[in-house]
Amino acid sequence: MDINLDISLMIYIAAGGLILAGSAGIVLSTHLLRIIFAIALLEAGANLLLLLASYRDGTAVPIIVDDHIPAVMADPVPQALVLTSIVIGVGVLALALGLVIRVQRTYGTLDIRELRERMAEDIADDAGIGRPVSSHAPLPVQAPGVVGADANE
């Protein structure tokens, strides 16, 4: 393998670790803010991977200062791509946080499981159909003293 082992391996481990941590946060977390932070981590990892794509050891900054042209300059394209990507990430995260604020205000909770249930209930209510009832929900308890009621009803 011809990739310069030391530095690029470390960067790859960092990028891979960030991606893994971000993905873990998104799929495993139940708190909405944690998921948003995990998205930020994931995007950081992806940006790092993009920068790594044309990494070369010992290159100079791709800027010409005082008419002194360096021998080997770094690749400016991934830098420009990551610049764009970071700005996009900022925009999306800002919008996400705004949404989280509204969700907290209207539902009062940031737990994603509870949010899902209540959203399904709200949608069902708006549509005028019955609320979705889980098949695992416990049976309604019969009031004591009801004469002749079938307990299995």
Partner: protein, 227 residues
């Protein structure tokens, strides 16, 4: 069940990341970055090749990126709504923050404008400088939550700056060349007024980003907290 499948997915992802490293072949022997390094100085006259890529070769990406910020700010304003004037505001911050904000405001303004204007010569540019400008305008709000940004000015500046970016690009088109071509000559290499329209474009970008982020931050801080 969900945790189980999630854990499986993550283990798979981890293995995939390791496996990719094993498989990563040789880097491409030649790529567009190297080619750009060779020709950018002559074609665009910018000393900073990253700026040459961002505003020149990939100018359309930058335009779309600006639009994404604009859309996020618009959608954010749509989501967050306006504050009822009767709600209580947070009290003013302490002495240190107020003095610090007063001292830092002109400093941040100058640094931000400097970075924007020198984007084609030194590292930096419109986005970086714009963020600094936004923080300059947001500090007073942190120090005195009672004061707030005038959103009319914010939307005015961001709309005008964004439109001028596209306008500069369109002007070129009517000249017969393709959209977003560099014009106005290259000037003397390394001077402040060089590289054609690049400083103008970055100025538009910087103002737009600054106005937008300041407005977005103001919106976020303006929303009422649940008591």
């Amino acid at each position: 069940m969900r945790r189980f499948t999630s854990a499986l997915f993550l283990i798979g992802l981890g293995l995939l990341i390791v496996a990719i490293y094993q498989q990563l072949g040789l880097q491409a022997s030649s790529n567009i970055g190297q080619a750009i390094n060779t020709v950018a100085a002559d074609q665009l006259g910018a000393a900073n090749f990253v700026t040459a890529v961002v505003l020149g070769y990939r100018g359309l990406d930058t335009l779309v990126e600006l639009t994404i910020l604009f859309t996020a700010a618009t959608a954010g304003a749509l989501v967050l709504g306006t504050r009822k004037p009767s709600t209580k505001r947070d009290p003013d911050a302490g002495f240190i923050l107020q003095t610090g904000a007063d001292l830092l405001f002109p400093l941040l303004l100058i640094v931000g404008l400097y970075i924007i204007m020198h984007g084609h010569l030194t590292p930096g540019g419109g986005f970086q400088g714009g963020v600094i400008l936004a923080s300059a305008f947001f500090l007073p709000i942190l120090a005195r939550p009672g004061s707030s940004i005038d959103h009319h000015w914010v939307s005015f500046i961001e709309g005008l700056a964004g439109a001028s970016f596209i306008y500069i690009g369109l002007l070129v088109m009517f000249d017969g060349k393709a959209f977003l071509s560099p014009v106005a000559g290259n000037g003397v290499f390394g001077e402040l007024f060089s590289a054609g329209t690049l400083p103008l474009l970055y100025a538009a970008v910087g103002l737009k980003v600054g106005a937008e982020l300041a407005g977005l931050l103001a919106n976020l801080s303006d929303t009422e907290a649940v008591d």
